[in-house]
C-alpha cells in the first residue's frame, strides 16, 4: 500500500458524504437543515484538508461535522431539538400506497426518529455516532472531546431513554 497518499476532497465527499448527511438528518429530523449542514461540512472539510495531519481521520472529520452542527444551532438560535414536520405522515404516506409491511416499517422509522429527537443532545449525538455512523467508542470520544467512559455512559443512557420513548 502506498504511503502518505493524501486524501482528496472529492474522495472524502464521496466516501463520507452520505454518512454526514445521515448524521445531520438524524440529529435534526429535517431534510433541508440536514442538506444545508452536509454542504457546510463539505466546505469546511475542503478548507481544512490542506492542514490535516495524519492521525485519526474519523475523529477529525466528525469533530468538524459536530462543530458545524453546533455552530448552526447557535446561529439559528434554536435548541438542537426540532420535531418532524407535522404533515409528514399525511404528505408522504397518503400519496404513496404501499404494502402493509412497508408502511409499518416506515411508521416504525418515524417513531424511532421522533423518539431520537426527544433525547437530550449529548445522548442523541452519542447514539447517532455509534449506531447510525458506526464509529467506535474511541472515535466518538475523539469527535466529541470527552473521555471514553463518558461516551459509554451516554450511549447506554441514550438507548435506555430511546427504549422508554418507544414503549
Amino acid at each position: 500500500m502506498p504511503e502518505n497518499v493524501p486524501l482528496t476532497w472529492e474522495e472524502v465527499a464521496h466516501t463520507h458524504g452520505r454518512k454526514i448527511y445521515n448524521f445531520a438528518y438524524r440529529l435534526t429530523g429535517n431534510p433541508d437543515d440536514a442538506a444545508d449542514l452536509a454542504q457546510e461540512v463539505l466546505i469546511r472539510v475542503q478548507r481544512g484538508l490542506a492542514n490535516y495531519t495524519p492521525g485519526s481521520f474519523e475523529g477529525w472529520l466528525w469533530r468538524i461535522t459536530r462543530n458545524a452542527f453546533l455552530d448552526d444551532v447557535r446561529r439559528k438560535k434554536r435548541r438542537p431539538t426540532s420535531a418532524l414536520p407535522d404533515d409528514l405522515d399525511r404528505t408522504n404516506l397518503a400519496s404513496s400506497p404501499a404494502p402493509d409491511d412497508v408502511l409499518a416499517s416506515i411508521r416504525l422509522g418515524e417513531d424511532v426518529q421522533k423518539a431520537l429527537l426527544g433525547l437530550p443532545y449529548d445522548f442523541r449525538e452519542a447514539v447517532v455516532l455509534c449506531d447510525i455512523v458506526g464509529l467506535s467508542y474511541d472515535e466518538i470520544a475523539a469527535a466529541v472531546a470527552a473521555p471514553v467512559g463518558t461516551v459509554r455512559s451516554r450511549i447506554h443512557r441514550g438507548r435506555k431513554m430511546l427504549r422508554e420513548g418507544l414503549s
Binding site: 452520505r18 448527511y21 404528505t91 412497508v102 416504525l108 459509554r152 447506554h156 418507544l166
Partner: protein
Amino acid sequence: MTGHVGELASAYLDGETTAEESAKVVAHVAECASCRDELADLHAARSALRGLPVLEMPVSVMVDMGLVPDVVPLRRRPIAWVAAAAASVAIFIGGATLAAPETVGIPLDDVSSQYEQQVRIDPGLTPPVGVVTEPEGAQ
C-alpha cells in the same frame, strides 16, 4: 455498579468490553432476570437505530459542491421531437379535420422531487419510469 451490569450492558452489545468485562456480563445475566430484561431492551433500542433506512445525500448538495454535473437544465429542456412527431402523425392521417394531439409537458421536476421526498422515507422505492417512445423517423 452494585452487582448489576449497568453501563457494561451497552458496551457489551457493541463489543466494547474487555474479555474480563464480557465474562462478568455473561455470568451476571445468566443469574439476574432484571439485567436480562435490560439487555433485551438495550438490544431492541440499538436494533431500532441500526434498522433506520440509510438516506442518500440530496443531489442538489452534490451539484452545488461540483461533485456531479448539473443535469437540471437538460431536464427542463422541452422535448421538441415529441411535438414534431405528434404533428407529423396528424398530417399523415390526413388530418385537416384532426387536430394534432395536444402535447403535455412532462413535469419531470415535480416527479423527481416527489420521488426524492418519498425515497427519504423508503430508500427501496422504485424510481418512476416513463414510456419510452421512438423519435420521428426511427424504425
